[in-house]
Amino acid sequence: MTDVAQTSGTYTLPRRRSKLEKLIQNVSFWRGVTAIAVFLGMWEVGSRIDEWFGEAYTVPFVGLIPPPSAVFLAWLEIAPSAGYWMSWVESFKRVLAGFIVAMIVGIPFGLALAVNKYFRALFFPPFEILRPIPPLAWVPASLIFWPTNEMSIAFVTFLGAFFTVVINVLGGARTIDIRYLRAAQSMGANQWDLFSKIILPGTLPSIFTGAAVGMGITWEVVLAAEMISGGGTQGGGGLGFFIWNSYMGGSLEQIIVGMISIGIAGYLSSSTIRAVGEWFMPWKRMF
């Protein structure tokens, strides 16, 4: 009796659907699936044309790399080995270490730059001189001044995310609409209220943008650092070393397995950041 929509007869509310059901019924989802399937199909055909019609018909670029089916077979071959999964774990550990330290140091640093003009006058110039140096340019120096390979990789990873996080936090905090600050001050907010209740929540979107971009850079840097330091005796493998090793061993299929693994790892990382961001910023949720 209380449920109007059910008793009205002419109209019933749609049944609540599970997340999986929604996904399966979502057109965009199937468009995405189709796009990936078409891409894989073109790659498969493109790389096999020389097998079917002879060397003269080799497709540039795609013709020179193994087809996805061969890559998949190569993956099936190495998937049971612990070494491959350890590469994932190693790289993830490094990315997380560098990223988390960059967030812990970068967010307060960026906020301090934004709210205190003395702090800004003192620390912004050196920051701006160090910022354009690509993280990878730090690799040789950090190999020298950090005692272990592992620490130098972590340091370079940290740098990759740090500058991006700081510049985003600073930009976000500096562009908070002055009306919010004025409104809050009129209502009697003191300096701490302004910081904790206006500047901090107002900067959150920029913090998460910085985190997402920083996470991407972290993956780039980790991979390159792993290749350069070679994993070696101390460093342990990682996906970067996995690719490098496959290259040295001449296995083209494994190189591509490594590349796709990185793609998936990066995707998982950024989805996690998005999910955390949504949880932190309920007002940003789209309906």
């Binding site: 609409d177 009306r179 919010y180 004025r182 409104a183 809050a184 001050q185 009129s186 209502m187 009697g188 907010a189 003191n190 209220d193 209740k197 206006i198 929540p201 107002g202 959150l204 910023m281 309920p282 007002w283 309906f287």
Partner: protein
């Protein structure tokens, strides 16, 4: 009618409601020059007006003429160069004190709205009493919900500003101002971007709020109908620099309903205000063209 003469008071002095004793603003010879050593832009020039406690005072003038500068000086967002502004006789800003202290006795409702997007409407309304420490968080939230319900926003208290219409957001913002029990509400073209239908609902809601609270209202607009429908006095100000050109007293009795807008009295008032405003708009337009050339 001698429209062009400055300081020409029209109509009889307005009788104030007996309970309105607070919130009288006195603006005396206020001048504001931006960047006196540089480009030297005079925004307000020797502007004076008296606003009685509990009065709805409408400021009408061309865009960019310095009306907002005046509002910002009262609110304490900007300093003034000379002159003085008093609230209930107490000096807000004047000689030796160029900038008024911001305070909850003068609440601003901004042109594009300034509800905090990261707080729900109820949390927004409760913000003032919480940061002032005059209420516990739960008590403030309870009062906020009660006041929102009074303004017809009882159902949307838990929504974020981004989830409600601009009309609801603006009404909630006025509630957020009123919970601080201000002496003056400062409104800076709050209904500017709204369609005519939403606007008319906003007007009725503001009038209803005013009849209930009798708070002094300082309202900037360039919508003439809005100015006359809402106001006790309409101050027409000149194009930059801002000076008081003419004051029209609106003696339409309160409570006012939308029907008065089609009355002969209303039409005559519009005509009177329009003549003065049009002249200033032309001046502003020509000045604007010169600036561009």
């Amino acid at each position: 009618m001698n429209v062009s003469a400055p300081f020409n008071e029209v109509g009889t002095p307005h009788a104030q409601p007996a309970q309105a004793t607070k919130g009288a603003i006195s603006i005396r010879n206020v001048t504001k020059i931006y960047d006196p050593e540089g480009v030297n832009v005079m925004a307000v020039d020797n502007c004076s007006m008296e606003i009685a406690g509990g009065e709805v005072c409408m400021i009408v003038g061309p865009s960019g003429c310095g009306k907002t500068t005046l509002l910002n000086a009262i609110a304490g967002f900007h300093s003034i160069t000379s002159g003085e502004i008093r609230l209930d006789g107490e000096l807000l800003c004047g000689p030796g004190k160029p900038k008024a202290k911001m305070g909850a006795d003068r609440m601003v409702v901004f042109q594009h709205g300034a509800l905090f997007p990261w707080r729900t409407l109820a949390e927004n309304v409760a913000y003032g009493p919480i940061v002032q420490g005059v209420m516990s968080k739960s008590l403030a939230m309870e009062k906020a919900r009660h006041m929102l319900a009074e303004a017809g926003l009882g159902d949307v208290g838990d929504k974020y500003p981004g989830e409600v219409s601009s009309g609801m957001a603006r009404r909630a913002e006025i509630v957020r101002a009123l919970i601080n029990d201000p002496k003056v509400l400062l409104l800076d073209e709050p209904y500017r971007a709204m369609d005519a239908l939403t606007k008319s609902i906003m007007h009725e809601s503001l009038l209803e709020t005013y009849d209930r609270t009798k708070v002094t209202i300082f309202f900037i607009t360039h919508d003439l109908e809005e100015a006359i429908f809402l106001g006790d006095k309409v101050h027409i100000v000149t194009s930059r620099p801002c000076r008081r050109k003419k004051t029209v007293t609106v003696d339409i009795p309160r409570p006012r309903s939308y029907a008065v807008q089609s009355s002969e009295q209303f039409r005559l008032l519009i005509e009177e205000v329009n003549e003065a405003v049009h002249e200033e708009a032309m001046k502003a337009f020509e000045a604007g063209e010169r600036e561009l050339a």
